[in-house]
């Protein structure tokens, strides 16, 4: 009975804290986390396809650049990359601004934290996406590419009509994994001060001294986000592979 009363008190405290404004804050945190993840995925998609193309290239130099990119950005701690873009960005911006005289020699021009975070997470995401795209490209039937060439299709037409639709279809499950990774990486940019879910939970925990409550809530909200994305990607997979399923 005592345990039940205790639990009731806990739930009541949680309700009061959430109603006092932390609930809305956490919702904003979710919105920022999703924004960071979506923008990072888009940056990663652009970089990932370029790097995949470089890794598949016939030119040794391009292949080397592609290999180095994926090795470095998958081999470094995510935190280090984020610090590099945030603090390094500040260092570069300050240097440029001081030399052009737009700020005083003792002032500092800070890297916008959202931009720095999104660039860092996007570049990491791009390294993983490059591997996904490369794997999908290699899974395309060689004969189809040869046939397209035999038809006299231009490289662009081949890319648009033969390569892209198939790479997309084969890449969806892999991209789902990268999406989950990117959601989790986005929690790390709380260190730069972007008010996403992790930082909001952190602030709430510190100012109310209910760390167990708020970190558990944050954990649950991340679980909700990662598990909601699974059926969405399943749907995308069904959609992109609709020409390969038998009609009922």
């Amino acid at each position: 009975m005592e345990f039940l009363n205790d639990l009731k008190d806990q739930v009541w405290t949680a309700y009061e804290l959430l109603a006092a404004g932390w609930g809305v804050q956490l919702l904003w945190g979710i919105a920022w986390t999703l924004a960071v993840t979506v923008v990072s995925m888009m940056i990663g998609a652009v970089l990932g396809s370029l790097v995949a193309a470089a890794k598949l290239s016939h030119r040794g130099g391009l292949r080397f650049i592609g290999e180095s990119y994926t090795t470095v950005f998958r081999g470094e701690p995510e935190l280090l990359i984020i610090y590099l873009f945030y603090y390094g960005g500040t260092q570069v911006l300050t240097g440029v601004a001081r030399s052009t005289g737009s700020i005083g020699s003792a002032d500092i021009l800070n890297m916008p934290s959202f931009l720095g975070g999104v660039l860092a997470v996007g570049i990491i995401s791009g390294a993983y996406q490059a591997e996904v795209f490369r794997g999908s490209f290699l899974a395309i039937h060689r004969g189809e590419l040869e046939a397209a060439r035999a038809y006299g299709m231009s490289p662009w037409l081949r890319f648009r009509l033969v390569i892209m639709p198939q790479v997309l279809r084969l890449a969806v499950p892999g991209l789902g994994n990268v999406w989950q990774l990117t959601i989790k990486d986005s929690a790390l940019i709380s260190v730069t001060g972007v008010a996403e879910l992790m930082l909001t939970a952190n602030k709430a925990a510190r100012s109310t001294h209910h760390s167990l409550l708020f970190y558990t809530l944050a954990g649950i909200l991340y679980l909700v986000m990662t598990s909601i994305s699974t059926p969405i990607f399943d749907r995308a997979e069904r959609y992109t592979s609709r020409s390969f399923t038998r009609p009922k």
């Binding site: 701690p77 610090y83 590099l84 603090y87 260092q91 992790m198 679980l223 990662t226």
Partner: protein, 243 residues
């Protein structure tokens, strides 16, 4: 180029390497223990065991390691019984132990899935043959299932170990002065983040590349049956060229 600065930075960060390796090693070791338990529970055939492991994997793979670390470090100390426990409190008030606990719990979820996949991938014919030989369940496991499964699990396991190396950097957010924490401190003192983080990055990269090489070598050693036989008249190299 200020070589003295680079050298002194690399040296200071390298001095924190033992601490990073300590977190890494104990995180992996305890993680392996938990993962073995989880895999056994999952394979035991009990429905409750299966539900528990499924829930465990869902929770620990679905949320960021940072949340798990904060929950262990800041969250658990809210419980009175934790603070009054003579065993739990010395562990959970120390950020170093907390990092190891969070890393072990996290990696166990991924590893148990790797082991489960490897166990399922052992060819049925091999197990049937062992049964036909009249091997007991334990002998079968020891001589047939386990060696094949371990070999199959190795590539995914090495990826997980590299993810763990990267995860040790999170210890810096709970005040541990391992390589990342040290680099952070130098960076704040000198305001030269690009140089300092590049030095730390090189060390992390070399560390991960050597771990990857080591696993590639082990994999090569464990799969002689998958290699092409030497050509006639060609000298057999006694040591693999991987390292």
């Amino acid at each position: 180029m200020d070589f003295d600065f680079y050298l002194s930075t690399i040296w200071s960060v390298l001095k924190a390497l033992p601490l990073t390796l300590e977190i890494w090693f104990f995180g992996i070791a305890f993680g392996l223990l938990i993962a073995t338990g989880l895999t056994w529970l999952r394979a035991s055939g009990y429905k409750s065991g299966e539900y528990f492991t499924r829930a465990y994997v869902f929770v620990f793979r679905g949320s960021p390691l940072l949340v798990q670390l904060y929950l262990v470090y800041f969250g658990l100390s809210q419980f009175d019984f934790v603070r009054h426990s003579p065993i739990l409190w010395p562990i959970l008030r120390d950020p170093m132990y907390c990092t190891i606990v969070a890393m072990a719990l996290n990696t166990a979820a991924y590893e148990s899935e790797i082991f489960r996949g490897a166990l399922r991938a052992v060819p049925v014919g091999q197990i049937e043959a062992a049964k036909a030989f009249g091997m007991s369940a334990f002998t079968r496991f020891r001589l047939v299932t386990l060696p094949i499964a371990l070999r199959l699990a190795l590539p995914a396991y090495s990826t997980e170990i590299i993810l763990m190396t990267k995860a040790t950097a999170l210890a810096s957010v709970v005040t541990i002065m391992e390589m990342m924490g040290t680099a952070q401190k130098i960076q704040h003192d000198t305001f030269r983040p690009i140089e300092v983080l590049t030095c730390a990055g090189v060390i992390y990269l070399l560390l991960n590349l050597s771990i990857a090489r080591l696993f590639a070598w082990v994999e090569h050693r464990l799969s002689p049956h998958l290699r092409a036989p030497p050509e006639q008249g060609q000298q057999v190299k006694p040591v693999p060229e991987v390292l």
